[in-house]
Symmetry: C2
Subunit: 205 residues, 2 copies
């Protein structure tokens, strides 16, 4: 199992190497869960040796933390771009919410990775903090949209909207008996936005 090594390949700087390893790792997690994301499997899939992985990430915890941060950063960045490019507040919110649904392979993979990390985050405080802050950023992004749409309580609206999308995502991921189709999930999001984005009427407590 000797690996051909391109010594001091000038094309690859350390940060890029780390990013590549993280990206391969995330693919492994998406396919086989965190159980399948061993250092050996990562080395194999990336075509490098165990030592190479160790060289770039001192411990596995550091590796996992980097990978998890990466997913959060990716999602946040995409949400911001969607928010910036959208023509209306509703389109921005809708775009961000649909990003949470497994509507194509990429989004499904990200969802699987997210779920795997969420499970781990329950027992690893460091990951829990990252997840909490990721959720916070997502909520903030959505709240911005709801605020632009002049909704009375933008944060509450964002909380509810992302909760709905998140829950729909798990139902799509584990489709069974009369589980919703992708179109029905999108319709559910649209229906929610219909009621959430009209001038919110005041109700009695």
């Amino acid at each position: 199992m000797h690996t051909i090594q391109l010594y001091c390949d000038p094309m690859v700087d350390p940060a890029e190497r780390r990013a590549e390893l993280v990206s391969v790792l995330l693919r492994l997690v998406a396919e086989h869960g965190l159980e399948g994301a061993t250092i050996r499997a990562l080395a194999d899939a990336a075509g490098v040796s165990i030592g190479a992985v160790q060289h770039h990430f001192r411990t596995k915890d550091e590796l996992l933390l980097s990978a998890f941060r990466q997913t959060g950063a990716d999602l946040t960045e995409r949400a911001e771009r969607i928010g910036r490019r959208a023509l209306t507040a509703r389109a921005a919110i809708r775009g961000i919410l649909l990003e949470l649904l497994p509507l194509d392979e990429r989004r499904e993979a990200e969802l699987r990775v997210g779920l795997a990390f969420a499970a781990r985050a329950m027992t690893v405080p460091a990951l829990g903090e990252v997840l909490a802050s990721d959720l916070g950023e997502l909520r903030a992004g959505l709240a911005e949209g709801f605020a632009a749409a002049k909704v009375a309580d933008p944060v509450a609206a964002a909380t509810a909207a992302m909760a709905l999308a998140d829950g729909l995502a798990t139902q799509l991921l584990f489709a069974g008996a009369d589980a919703p189709t992708a179109d029905e999930a999108i319709a559910a999001v649209d229906r929610h936005l219909d009621t959430a984005l009209v001038g919110r009427r005041r109700r009695r407590a």
Copy 2:
């Protein structure tokens, strides 16, 4: 580490023993995740030997499957009881939805177990099927309530409602920055029911 054994204890029949082991296992999963749920840890926590666990569950997969089925059955049973006892359709739906939120220690533990199993269910088809059918039963129970409330599309309403509760649960579980409090989550559920349970107006496609 010799364990005192009560030979042929007449109080304990095999099924009861299995149930007890499953219950101890679920506590382990809730506390330490599936990574902490090893056969040795289970044997220790239950005060029996490794062999005893093996005697009641041939493999670990069988053990995990039993445990997972147990959680699903528990939730379904509770949902049904809540549905039966509720005075109004709205109360039934609300009660089931609140059962999905981590409002006390028991419900938080069940949620942690559910999340851990969901992550595993992504890579283990047998668990995935159980999860899918559990989600289906939950949806059916809720749909019954929505049907009783004369909602136009009970299944869609159930899908959306459980999605919302599920998403709120994860936000409560990983509370961060401006995450919702338990009260706010309940308020979000109530708000959702307010709009979901009024005579649904027809919208254009």
